[in-house]
């Protein structure tokens, strides 16, 4: 498989314009400006089959086509670099090692919707990443790829790197817009969708870093070359961030449809220390956990992971070996969502803290009969009852942990203590395993 997204990162000084150009960088941007109309560009990306890599998997070309062409308001393109889904660290790698690929992708997407002001919204904690992007934007501006009358085409575009300030919810596109408007990162009700009523009420498209970084390759090599990779509905390649109890953690680029088990065992070296796999979260902490026996026939594409009862999400693969206490793992994730709920919708604001408290008391050996039903009830009342997907993201993993590892939870409640390892931590496995 040819690498689309990680094609440059191992080259020395891959973050510089000179190296990026020497590897064909900005060739796609020139091609777009010189030979393609926005309509043709959108068609090309539709044909590539590229789907949004932020988690939802919505077709990128179609998302762009929802932007009205006759709207007199300014249009905005935003690169979502607010990578915060637990278990996901792929965007950070591209930001730090191949920032020009993100910039070129952002320019191409902005042109597709005829935006003249684009933003890269980067999570606040990525101070180094923001500095790399700022530097790369300055280089690209100096070289005439950004600014007024770009490469003599008559097309103008300003690109602003904007830092968030620490809030998971700002990765959700309407919360990101609220944040960029200078408010709390509160999601907005959809419809209307950002494509018609986005930043400051203007037509806006928000695309993930990984989605945008794939565009230069797609334009340079053609939609057909991209669509030739992957499965019927999940085209191309995808980045997977692999963490937890795994021999070789890291970011991997995989052709869609690659067998999950083979990936974990052959590519990532499997579970270390001779332990057995207990469970794996395939798409970041908001996605339902899968038991070891459930991944046997799963392939790494949207449809196959969904058929197995979870979702591909952001591709954040969190591996847990047999020494992991699933009660404590579930509590850890519930605590994350309780901490990050923006507080706008009652079911999520109240429910996330409630689930966290009940998981915690079970973990502490103070669980009561009926606690599991209580969590499932709360989770069920959050699902679908909030204005953004955060509620579902908190509810789904909570319910999945209980359903998949019911016996362990029951045992915890009955014996009032952990039955896995020493029960003192999420994992009793050797700490600080160096890989």
């Amino acid at each position: 498989m040819e690498k689309v997204l990680l094609r440059n990162i191992d080259v020395a000084d891959s973050h510089t314009l000179a190296v990026y150009q020497s590897r064909g960088g900005y060739r796609a941007w020139e091609k777009v400006l010189r030979t393609m109309t926005p309509a043709k560009l959108i068609e090309e990306v539709k044909e590539s089959g590229l789907r949004g890599r932020g988690g939802a998997g919505f077709p990128t070309g179609m998302k762009w086509s929802f932007v009205p062409k006759d709207n007199p308001k300014p249009k905005y393109l935003i690169c979502n670099a607010d990578e915060s889904e637990p278990g996901t660290f792929k965007d950070r790698l591209i930001i730090e090692r191949d920032p020009h690929a993100i910039i070129e992708g952002t320019l191409i997407a902005a042109y597709a919707i005829q935006s003249h002001t684009a933003f890269i919204y980067i999570r606040g904690e990525f101070a180094f990443g923001a500095a790399m992007l700022e530097r790369a934007v300055a280089e690209a501006t100096e070289a005439g790829y950004i600014g007024e009358n770009i490469l003599g085409s008559g097309y103008d575009l300003d690109l602003i790197v904007h830092r968030g300030a620490g809030a998971y919810i700002c990765g959700e596109e309407t919360a990101l817009l609220s944040s960029l408007e200078g408010s709390r990162g509160w999601p907005k009700l959809k419809p209307p969708f950002p494509a018609t009523h986005g930043l400051f009420g203007c037509p806006t498209v928000v695309n993930n870093v990984e989605t945008l970084a794939a565009l230069p390759w797609i334009i340079d090599r053609g939609a057909a070359a991209y669509a030739a990779m992957g499965t019927e509905k999940s085209k191309g390649t995808k980045l997977f961030s692999v963490s937890g109890h795994i021999a070789k953690p890291g970011v991997y680029e995989v052709e869609m449809g690659y067998p999950f088990k083979k990936f974990l065992e052959a590519d990532c070296g499997g579970v270390p220390h001779g332990r057995k796999l207990k469970g794996v979260i395939p798409g970041g902490a908001s996605m339902p956990v899968l038991r070891a026996d459930e991944i046997e026939k799963v392939n790494l594409d949207y449809e196959s992971v969904q058929a197995a009862g979870s979702l591909l999400g952001s591709g954040g693969v969190i591996v847990m070996d047999e020494s992991t206490c699933m009660v404590r793992a579930a509590w850890n994730i519930a605590r994350f969502f309780a901490h990050e709920s923006c507080g706008q919708c009652s079911p999520c604001r109240e429910g996330c803290h409630w689930m966290e408290k009940v998981f915690h008391r079970i973990e502490q050996g103070r669980g009561e009969a009926g606690d599991l039903d209580l969590i499932l009830n709360v989770s069920g009342n959050i699902m679908g009852n909030t204005i953004c997907p955060f509620g579902d993201a908190a509810a789904m993993p909570a319910a999945a942990f209980i359903k998949k590892y019911g016996d362990e939870f029951e045992e915890h409640i009955r014996r009032k203590k952990c039955t896995v390892g020493d029960g003192a931590s999420v994992s009793s496995s050797e700490f600080l395993v160096s890989s």
């Binding site: 660290f89 990162g185 109890h245 994730i333 600080l432």
Partner: protein, 157 residues
């Protein structure tokens, strides 16, 4: 005594606001400038930013209190933030946190008496492949061991 920006920072403020299509969009970068200049965003700093941005102090307070990186209280010179989310927890972040606490003689949420260190636990910092990890001010420290952490703390003491 009312707080205000130095003339140099005020210039940066004007440049920052000028970059954005609307003034209010510059709120976060302006709050960063204020936090850098004043150390933290207490009521006086919030009132000053509100006045600069043409908004009410209550609204600015609401924004500051929403984001974890904006702080309303003074913190130590080195803000140690250990990730506590699942991928780091699976690799022993809890032991790292308690090791730091013991080493510095403070609990999570506290600042050392000399004002040098504040210890916090934070949620996922997108460095899960090199867990456990922590952030001190702007820098990431990854693949932590107790030995590594001891050396890092020593270099900052």
């Amino acid at each position: 005594m009312a707080l205000e920006f130095s003339s140099e920072t005020y210039k940066k403020f004007e440049e920052t606001v000028g970059r954005y299509p609307k003034k209010e969009a510059a709120m976060l970068p302006v709050l960063y400038l204020a936090q850098q200049e004043f150390g933290y965003l207490g009521p006086e700093a919030i009132a000053y930013v509100a006045q600069l941005m043409g908004q009410s102090p209550a609204r600015v307070h609401g924004i500051v209190s929403f984001y974890t990186m904006l702080t309303m209280k003074p913190i130590g010179r080195y803000h140690i933030q250990v990730c506590r989310t699942l991928p780091c927890a699976l690799k022993g972040s809890e032991k790292i946190t308690s090791f730091i606490g013991k080493n510095l003689g403070i609990d999570v949420g506290q600042t050392s008496v000399n004002g040098r260190f504040t210890l916090s636990e934070v949620e996922c910092l997108a460095s899960c492949g090199t867990a456990p990890m922590m952030q001190i001010n702007d820098d990431y420290y990854e693949d932590l061991t107790e030995e590594k952490v001891a050396a890092i703390l020593e270099s900052l003491k």
